[in-house]
């Protein structure tokens, strides 16, 4: 784990949507250790600040791929970087999507909005080793059709099963409308033999987990990724505390059996 930021250069940049950008970074000299799907880096926008951002693809070599949605000062600065720009990187931090727990089981990968970014490396890993798993389902919800990430990758995910739904359809949208839980009806899985990986805003993860439990998926086999503001990312400052957990160290990926009682408490 790297405690001081290492310099990385932006070698590729792609606009995913009107407010979301994917950056590919290459180390100037020393590289951080390899990431597992679900882990995050602290990305430092020089002169602005540092924020946690998950890896959105795990590539060979020392390159890092992150997808960032511009919501405030730091994420906006990162999204504004051009090729050749510089970023500071610390990491890898946090727990991963433990795909090994899903070996032999059906898989539900359920994303809301930018939540698809941390889940994409998991989908890649499962597709690279399809025989190790049961049926894969990728379900994604977004506010509008224009907010959907990675649209060009869906055809590859549709081969197992993938479906998207939006909250607010635009003119000409012929896809599904409604919350992401409505897609569960079409997904192909046996609830008692299913591991679910869920990432999105907390309300979405709660609604999804409840629907899954209602269908018979075990709470400890529902993995969610919890976000809190992070400062040190090394378990020292306490900024990311949620009850007994320090999410930079014990999270962001936790079982819903552990998360549910903590999310039910209004403020801890």
């Amino acid at each position: 784990m790297t405690l001081t930021p290492l310099s990385y250069r932006v070698v590729d940049r792609r606009d995913e949507t009107h407010d979301t950008v994917t950056l590919v970074l290459e180390p100037a000299a020393n590289a951080v250790k390899p990431f597992a799907p679900g882990q995050f880096a602290m990305l430092y926008a020089f002169g602005v600040g540092e924020i946690p951002v998950s890896v959105s693809r795990i590539a060979d070599g020392h390159r890092l791929t992150h997808t960032v949605r511009a919501v405030g000062a730091v994420s906006r600065a990162l999204c504004g970087l051009r090729t050749g720009g510089w970023v500071g990187v610390r990491g890898p931090f946090g727990t991963a999507w433990d795909s090994a727990a899903a070996h032999g089981n059906d898989l539900l990968v359920i994303a809301g909005g930018i939540g698809l970014a941390p889940l994409r490396p998991l989908v890649d890993a499962v597709l690279a080793e399809p025989h190790a798993f049961g049926r894969l389902n990728v379900l994604a919800g977004s506010r509008t059709p224009a907010d959907l990430l990675y649209q060009d990758e869906f055809p590859a995910w549709e081969k197992p099963f993938a479906a998207v739904t939006v909250d607010r359809p635009a003119n000409g949208w012929t896809g599904r409308v409604g919350v992401v839980t409505t897609l569960l009806r079409e997904a192909r899985f046996t609830p008692s033999d299913t591991v679910a990986f869920v990432c999105g805003p907390e309300v979405m993860m709660r609604a999804t987990a409840r629907a899954l439990i209602h269908q018979g998926v075990r709470p400890d086999l529902i993995r969610v990724s919890l976000e809190r503001n992070m400062r040190c990312a090394t378990g020292h400052c306490g900024h990311c505390q949620l009850g007994p957990l320090l999410l930079c160290r014990d999270g962001p990926v936790v079982g819903y059996d552990q998360a549910e009682p903590l999310l039910a408490v209004r403020e801890l």
Binding site: A70, G80, G113, S142, R143, R176, G178
Partner: protein
């Protein structure tokens, strides 16, 4: 199931319109149906799509028995169509059947209400954000 008849509806069929008498309901076997509402100046706005295994229509169950949304098939749909008056009569005769039917319909209404409330929270936005502007 004796009260049901199998129907096949091509894509783009208007199944019912807002305000019309709700005298039938369907259980979708395959395909998708979009529920829409007419908004002055914006035309038809789809508020939800439903697919295989879903109940289409519950307004027949209680007064004023008028559709509060309109429904159109997105693609070819196969469904079981039920005549609401006949189902009402059967439920009046067999109250146990009536209760289980009402429970199933109430569950559907509950699901849709929950989904609607969750959507009102702006489900996929980060906390505190009010829609998102372009990246500067």
């Amino acid at each position: 199931m004796a009260l049901a008849r199998e129907v096949a509806l091509p894509g783009g069929t208007r199944i019912f319109e807002e305000g019309e008498k709700a005298d039938r309901f369907w259980i979708i076997r395959s395909g998708t149906v979009a529920l829409d509402v007419h908004m002055p100046g914006r035309g038809r706005v789809v508020v939800e799509t439903i697919g295989a295994g879903s109940l289409l229509g519950w307004s027949w169950l209680c007064p004023p028995r008028q559709w509060h949304l309109a429904a159109e098939t997105r693609d070819p749909v196969r469904a079981w169509e039920f005549d609401a008056a006949a189902v009402h009569d059967l439920c009046a005769e067999d109250t146990a059947l009536g209760l289980s039917l009402v429970t199933v319909v109430a569950e559907t209404i509950g699901d849709r209400l929950r989904a609607t409330r969750t959507r009102l929270l702006d489900l996929y936005g980060p906390p505190g954000s009010q829609g998102s502007g372009p990246v500067p």
